[in-house]
């Protein structure tokens, strides 16, 4: 019987695991170890928090009393030194050993810092933690020249926020358009073009080197000879899974902690959830999900595995992003679809694009039209066939279409 569980890391994956264990009936010892003051939500760090519109306290994933109510011991400002699965324990950095019949690694990831010469300068920022956001925000003064490297989710969101703060923003990405795999080529192009429309200088380039100058930082782009001068740089070039504890404990790690469909690692007493993980399905390692809801669902699955209860029904992957005042959501897969169906007109109010395979919706991306994505998710999960002309007609109520398809 499992009588003690230690969750390592207080992001959305760790906190969701704790919540799911308690709601699933686990009444044993439960400790959540987190390096910060309290577990907080990360999506606002590139948006309202970076803009200075939100305090960190407002980002708390759960109110302080929740941990007491749920009888979860929050070991904050604490890190784990080592896992000791053979002794059913976890050693904290102060030497304390907590009993742990099961350990759940929710260790997250780091913002990647590629080995570009000069990238270790204080003027070169990354954005992953509240401390990162605080440091970047200090540099985002009106008129400051900011270079954003990477036009994916974090880069685009931070560029949009910086523009709103009055910065002079340049965005570079070697790929045009970024995010094509996530939202499909046509929407990716539309979204990327929006940056220039709103006043961001957009370049298709990579960075060869950074050099500190008298009052700023120069960036050498691979597309031009003369370096460009900036006051600050943000690298938004992806994440690197935090796997130190897993590796030291001898768990299988291949670009992430390898887990099965129930989040169990190569050691049956250790589970892992969220950004540090890669799932192996039918012998094939999947791409890391790297999204908020995926991490939340990992927690639900880990809890079900520990409790021996049925796993939740799988559902199509979902994410959101906000830029230039627009709310964008995506669900399912947009890449490699047979063809697409567009509902509405890009640039003229809400619109959505559906990826169709074999007559069925397999993915959708929507700008300011979340209902289209919620409906699509149910079509995808239920493998429901809908009339594609109705789908494309913005006069059709998608809820009704969904209900008709359910029959």
């Amino acid at each position: 019987m499992v009588a003690s569980i230690v969750i390592v890391g207080g992001g959305i994956a760790g906190v969701s695991t704790a919540a799911a264990l308690r709601s699933g009936g686990y009444d044993g010892d439960l400790t959540l170890v987190d390096a910060g003051e309290f577990p907080y939500d990360r999506p606002p760090l590139s948006k309202d928090y970076l803009a200075g519109k939100q305090e960190l306290a407002a980002l708390a994933l759960q109110p302080a009393e929740w941990y007491d109510d749920q009888e979860i011991r929050l070991a904050n400002r604490t890190t784990v030194a080592a896992l000791r699965p053979a002794e059913a324990g976890v050693e904290l950095s102060d030497g304390t050993v907590l009993p742990a019949d099961r350990v759940v690694l929710a260790t997250g990831a780091h913002a990647a810092r590629p080995p570009i010469p000069g990238a270790t300068s204080d003027r070169v920022h990354v954005l992953r933690t509240a401390e990162d956001a605080d440091g970047l925000r200090k540099a985002l003064l009106p008129g400051a020249r900011l270079l954003v490297v990477g036009g994916g989710l974090i880069g685009a969101e931070a560029a949009s926020t910086a523009l709103g703060l009055g910065c002079e923003v340049t965005l570079v990405d070697p790929l045009t358009p970024p995010l094509a795999a996530a939202v499909g080529e046509e929407t990716a192009t539309w979204l990327h073009d929006l940056h220039a429309e709103r006043g961001i200088s957009v370049l298709t380039a990579g960075v060869d080197a950074f050099e500190e100058t008298a009052g700023g930082i120069a960036a050498r782009l691979n597309s031009e000879h003369a370096p460009r001068d900036f006051d600050a740089v943000l690298l938004g070039v992806g994440m690197r899974a935090e796997t130190t504890l897993a590796e030291a404990a001898g768990l299988e790690v291949t670009g992430g902690i390898v887990v099965d469909a129930g989040q169990t690692t190569s050691n049956p007493a250790v589970l892992a959830v969220g950004d540090p993980t890669r799932r192996r399905v039918d012998g094939v390692l999947q791409r890391p999900a790297e999204h908020w809801e995926a991490a939340q669902h990992d927690g639900t699955r880990a809890a079900a595995t520990i409790l021996g209860t049925p796993q939740p029904e799988p559902t199509a992957a979902w994410f959101w992003t906000d830029r230039h005042g627009l709310h964008v959501e995506g669900v399912g897969r947009m890449a490699d679809a047979g063809h697409t169906v567009v509902r509405g007109t890009p640039g003229d109010g809400p619109f959505s694009v559906f990826a169709i395979d074999d007559g069925r919706v397999v993915g959708a991306v929507a700008v300011d039209d979340t209902k289209a994505v919620r409906a699509s998710r149910r079509m995808i999960d239920g493998r429901l066939a809908v009339d594609l002309d109705d789908l494309a007609d913005s006069g059709t109520d998608l809820r009704k279409l969904l209900r008709a398809a359910k029959g």
Binding site: W292, H327, T370, K371
Partner: protein, 112 residues
């Protein structure tokens, strides 16, 4: 006990949908979302999501919850309790009655 405020006809709110009633009509601190579930019953919650600014009247009503249109936080239609993150703060549920095809709202009265 009051007779409630007539806020809409039942025909104005489709099943699985919601409408927002202005706080000028309801006299409450927030607008109130009238949400109609798949079985046709009406429920009322404060309209603004407790997480970030979004109207729950535009949310997705299913399985006893309304899902916020912005970040998919879930609130119980009957109690206003959070059923899904990122919201952590419960919202306020109000009593609703349907009489002769008209929806009557009882602001700040608990649902029965």
């Amino acid at each position: 006990m009051s007779e409630g405020i007539r806020v809409a006809s039942l025909d104005d709110v489709e099943e699985g949908e919601g409408i927002a009633i202005s706080k000028e009509v309801t006299g409450t601190e927030d607008d109130i979302a009238i949400l109609r579930d798949e079985a046709g019953f009406c429920w009322a919650l404060n309209d603004t999501c407790t997480h970030e600014t979004a109207s729950l009247a535009d949310g997705w009503v299913e399985d006893g919850d309304v899902e916020c249109p912005l970040h998919a936080s879930k609130f119980n239609l009957k109690t206003g309790e959070v059923d899904g993150l990122p919201a952590t703060q419960d919202t306020v549920a109000h009593r609703v009655e349907v009489r002769d095809g008209e929806i009557y709202l009882f602001p700040n009265e608990k649902p029965v």
